[in-house]
């Protein structure tokens, strides 16, 4: 579930994840919502965190402005 392609574009699973992260969301909730194994979600979040697309908050992970812009969502 690599998220960021070599050309900087995002995979479809990464885009799904960012849409969910318009508000703080836990890895477990993402896994359940996307029917994706938790290990893949954790790896994706780590990659997106490093790319500055999400931030880790106490309540979970949330898309940054840059991340939200990738999917055209408005952050909660």
């Amino acid at each position: 579930m690599a998220c960021v392609n070599p050309d900087g574009s995002l995979t479809s699973s990464a885009l799904d994840l960012l849409r969910l992260a318009s508000r703080p969301v836990s890895p477990e909730a993402i896994s359940a919502e996307l029917a994706t194994p938790l290990f893949k979600v954790r790896a994706s979040l780590r990659e997106m965190l490093a790319a500055g697309l999400v931030v880790e908050l106490q309540a979970g992970y949330q898309a940054t402005e840059e991340g939200a812009a990738k999917v055209g969502t408005v952050m909660a």
Binding site: M1, A2, C3, P37, L38, F39, K40, R42, A43, S44, R46, E47
Partner: protein, 225 residues
């Protein structure tokens, strides 16, 4: 021991053992970069195969893929490994899907630098210095090594046995029991032998317990009744 053997013995990495914390790693896979810690909370079957595009390995991959739904019900993930590139892995799993109709959904580590293989002792130099043998490491949700199986290059593994092994381990954890030879879910389990004379006397008189002798007692588990 000659000096060469001594030098080899002193630099050989320590093989992981049952009960050890599973060695942590980060590795490129067909599902991106994964860390062992990503699997925390799930059981994991980490297995190696000698090489992509080889017939025995292909039958094993098909077997593991078919077992994946049953393993998921046991909160267990799969991850393969060989000393091949990620491009080779991608090409092979696509080939398996195209030619055999089986989709490989679990990640496969591309261990070109043999880092993970060395960490887990997957290379058996007496058999091959360039390929990993058919190793299986069962890692629990706390990331402790619970079981290991090693098969040689020539012999495909019994995937049903790996599923049975995980069921047995999880049953032991849940009920504090052991399982006899060839045990299958629903069958009687073994109560660990008493540690004192008093406990031995109580054991042979306990209700719901069948004893051949004080050290060899079995019982049914509640859900099996």
């Amino acid at each position: 021991m000659d000096m060469n053997s001594f030098a080899e013995a002193t630099i050989a990495p320590r093989m992981p053992r049952i009960g050890d914390p599973a060695p942590q790693f980060e590795a490129p896979t067909t599902h991106g970069t994964l860390r062992l810690e990503d699997f925390k909370g799930s059981w994991l079957v980490l297995f190696s195969h000698p090489a992509d595009f080889t017939p025995v390995c292909t039958t094993e991959f098909i077997g593991f893929a078919k077992a994946q739904p049953a393993l998921r019900e046991l909160n267990t993930e799969l991850m393969g490994l060989s000393i091949d590139s990620v491009y080779s892995h991608i090409s092979w799993v696509r080939n398996v899907e195209e030619k055999m109709g089986i989709k490989i959904e679990f990640p496969v580590i591309a261990d070109l630098n043999k880092e993970v293989a060395s960490l887990y002792g997957m290379i058996m130099p007496g058999e091959s210095k360039t390929e990993t043998s058919r190793c299986v490491f069962v890692i629990d949700g706390e990331q402790t090594l619970r079981a290991m199986i090693y098969y040689p290059l020539t012999t495909g593994r019994n995937i049903d046995e790996i599923v049975r092994l995980i069921k047995a381990l999880q049953t032991s954890d849940e009920h504090g029991v052991a399982t006899p030879a060839n045990w299958q879910p629903g069958e009687r389990v073994i109560i660990p032998p008493p540690q004192t004379q008093e406990a031995a006397e109580e054991r042979v008189q306990a209700e719901g317990v069948e004893c051949k002798d004080w050290y060899f007692c079995t019982k049914e588990l509640p859900e099996a009744k």
